[in-house]
């Protein structure tokens, strides 16, 4: 029984990793590639670490496996957010089939300022800060 569960967890984990790699190879732009890799690869790691926990069945090893799971669950979204943000700022091109980019009309790439669309004459005046790029 334990062997079956272990084999199932390992195979599905490996399959999800292969799926993530296929996604990063086939999808058209940075954001869709990130959408494939961050979730599928994190799920693959989690499933394989569950298999490790089932296989060893000792407190110390299970604790370490769960530490890896919690670590992956916490860091994968942060890393994806940071890379996606950097990619947008750097100006990586979006796919030609992109329907909507809501940041584009409201964001000024030179001053890093966002607009809300609710500006009045009084609060729309640019107030320079000391760490602004010249």
């Amino acid at each position: 029984m334990i062997e079956t569960i272990k084999g199932f967890l390992i195979l599905t984990g490996a399959l999800f990793m292969l799926l993530a790699a296929l996604g990063i190879l086939r999808l058209p732009d940075l954001l869709t590639r990130m959408h494939a890799t961050t979730k599928a690869a994190a799920l693959g790691v989690i499933l394989i670490m569950l298999a490790v926990a089932v296989h060893f069945g000792e407190v110390a090893v299970v604790a370490r496996a769960f530490a890896i799971i919690v670590f992956v669950l916490m860091t994968a979204p942060v890393a994806a957010h940071v890379i996606g943000r950097a990619g947008y700022f750097v100006g990586s091109k979006l796919w030609s089939g992109t329907v909507k980019d809501e940041l584009r009309p409201n964001y000024d790439p030179l001053t890093h300022e966002l607009k809300s669309g609710l500006e009045t004459d009084s609060n729309a005046v640019h107030q320079p800060r000391e760490n602004d790029p010249k």
Partner: protein, 89 residues
């Protein structure tokens, strides 16, 4: 069990090759950073499977370190990219 582990190792090896194709082809630096992060995840999975195969639980420590290094590398690359401003590569 041995065949299941062999199959999963082959699958993850193919995944490594596909991710490496993306590292080589680019086209921009953020794409390569995403591919390298995927690399780190796949290697963590490979180390976990290898720990099961050899019955040595110490390999999990290596997996923890690899996951940590992958995360820090992603953060560092992102900071480096943002400092550089708009680029065309």
């Amino acid at each position: 069990m041995a065949t299941v582990i062999l199959i999963s190792q082959v699958l993850m090896g193919i995944a490594l090759i596909l991710a490496f194709v993306r590292v080589v082809r680019g086209p921009s630096l953020p794409d390569r950073v995403v591919a390298l992060e995927l690399f780190a995840s796949i290697v963590v999975g490979l180390v976990g499977v290898y720990a099961i195969r050899t019955d040595v639980s110490s390999f999990l420590d290596a997996a923890i370190v690899i996951a940590l290094m992958g995360f820090l590398a992603a953060i560092g690359f992102a900071r480096f990219l943002e400092r550089g401003g708009p680029r065309d590569d």
